[in-house]
Amino acid sequence: MTMTRALAASFLAALVSLAPAHAAEAPKPPREEWSFSGIFGKFDQAQLQRGFQVYREVCSSCHSMSLVRFRNLAEPGGPGFTAGQVKALAAEYKVKEVNDNGEEVERPARPADAWPSPFPNDKAAAAANGGKAPPDFSVLAKARTFERGFPLFVVDAMPFVGYSEQGVDYIHALLNGYEDAPAGMEVPAGTNYNKYYPGHLIAMAKPLSDGQVTYAKGENGEPVVPETVEQYSRDVAAFMSWTAEPHMEARKALGFRVILFLILLAGLLYYVKKKIWADVGGEVHGLQPELHKTG
């Protein structure tokens, strides 16, 4: 094996020397703590409700969320609104439909309706936003990521130390990444400097500022969480994680039971296998009796 080792070592050395060619890119978003990460992760209902509030009061004026239906907000594993709250919420929005006379009419939304988009179509959205439609929020948390590089990407796949919240962390970092451009960097009109955006020039202006959204107060009249950009971005990122993966809690809970069952089954089968092979292992040949007789 010595030859293999020497060759492998020289290979790795050569590869490591190649790596720095790609260093000078955007900084990696920091890894945040999320209630929904890990094997037993669950969404924080209060956080999802706050995140929904941020989306509704700020983001929804430009960003659609067309795959989410009002009823989803009351489904298990989500923000946990009641059916009544969702019905009342939906009624505040108008949706278009074609009536029996073939006329396009507006009616109040029902829980089964999709979240109404802020623009009639993608072209209108692009025209109103400097030529590019703001991305839909439905699966955005799964559509964004950043490279972790070797060897972290291997660690990320593993149980307990695994990492699958890159998209959420990126969104959180992006919303906190607005700062002054470094000296000498030109920021063209219609773009904004963002530390975490690939290429740094993002069309979206800084969307959140401290105190912009008023959260419901606690029982003592004091705010439960700070009303800051950091908190808003955390809450809305968590909310987007739910819209991207509304059955995440069910998935993780079922997974735990499936894996426990398979461990038990594998354990039993191991002993069955051992018992069946016991008479083969030594010198005695262990065939079924009828096989000895024939042939």
Binding site: M1, M3, T4, L7, A8, F11, A14, L15, S17, L18, A21, I39, L67, N72, P135, S138, V139, L140, K142, A143, T145, F150, D156, A157, P159, G162, S164, Q166, G167, P198, P246, H247, A250, R251, K252, L254, G255, F256, V258, I259, L262, I263, A266, L269, Y270, V272, K273, I276, W277, V280, E283, V284, H285, G286, L287, E290, L291, H292, T294, G295
Partner: protein
Amino acid sequence: MSGHANTYVPKSRLAKWFESRLPLVGLMHSSFVSFPVPRNLNYFWTFGAILIMMLGLQIVTGVWLAMHYDPSADKAFNSVEHIMRDVNYGWLLRYAHANGASMFFVAVYIHIFRNLYYGSYKAPREVLYILGVIIYLLMMATAFLGYTLPWGQMSYWGATVITNILAAIPVVGDTIQSLLWGGYSVGSPTLNRFFSLHYLLPFMIAGVVVLHVWALHVVGQNNPTGIPIKSGKDAVAFTPYATVKDVFAAVVFMLFFAYWIFYQPGYLGHADNYIPANPAVTPAHIVPEWYFLPFYAILRAVPDKLGGVILMFGAVLILAFAPWLDTSRVRSSNYRPIYRQFFWLFVIVCVVLGWLGAKPPEGGYVIASQICTFYYFAHFLIVMPLVGLFETPTALPGSILESVTGPGKQIESGSGMPVGAAAAPSSKG
């Protein structure tokens, strides 16, 4: 099917009536019950059964997904999300199917490397082996077609890159491309065609799997020593011995599979595929699924498009020639001290090619890809013929039994397993 004794004796009147008209039960019995299996197989030999399980799971989950999927460019992306959101356990079906493809390739790569290490491709198993290469090719086509179906950015641009590659084939390339596109670029007709073919190919795989298993049962299984079954004492009956071992291994593999489905369902995919397909925006890096990355690195190692295409397809097709490129008289690398080191070097080169396939095609990455591509082909064209000629293998055990119990021991009991054709199939062709 195989030449050894059929030990199935129908008992009931109905079974006798049926067996005299179609000896199906006897066929299954001789193939999966009384079939002699080398007693020294290790767990690498369970991957055949695992692969059959994976094919079955992919077909079952795929048929169910097809009930809810809409293969039109406008609706495909949202219909996949409809499955994820609104269909009962749709998320489970879809994640099992998408990760199932990856697990299928994990299993097939272990199966292929096991084959190469133990020289299973050598006579008399050439046809069995080539059928395996055909299955692998069909799997690659099926997986590629399947990855286009969610119609995200990677689906769309992957389809564009691969169909453009096919256009480089001389004479028929343009025709193939037009047939796949169904228009002047990748679009809704392409998606319809890909969906249709994606549904067709797994059944073709199943057909070749039947031939693969048939060929296996004619020539018998190889084993870690590489020497054939010489007497019944070298073998055990397929059922219960191999069966219970295969089932145990399959459950352990399911455990591995379940982890990905439930806890890392997106890890093996690509984030860009959650952005709906957009012909106007090219992703920063167009990257195939992990199981294609070594071939993608080979494709991009060559500056010439046609040259890259030839090498990429050549990298798969060259596998089929291994039985004739390998000149060694000994099958198993356990007894081949020189070749064994080249084998592991080959494994490392394949892994490094995979890593390079995920990197942008520039600078040092291209040079490294070229070096690895050179070794990939040299392994088959230079190492396999030459090492076989010059290497002195270490001493082989006298029999499979001796490899298990140690040399010189006499076996007193047991009259042995009826073997026959599976022990010594006809000599080299």
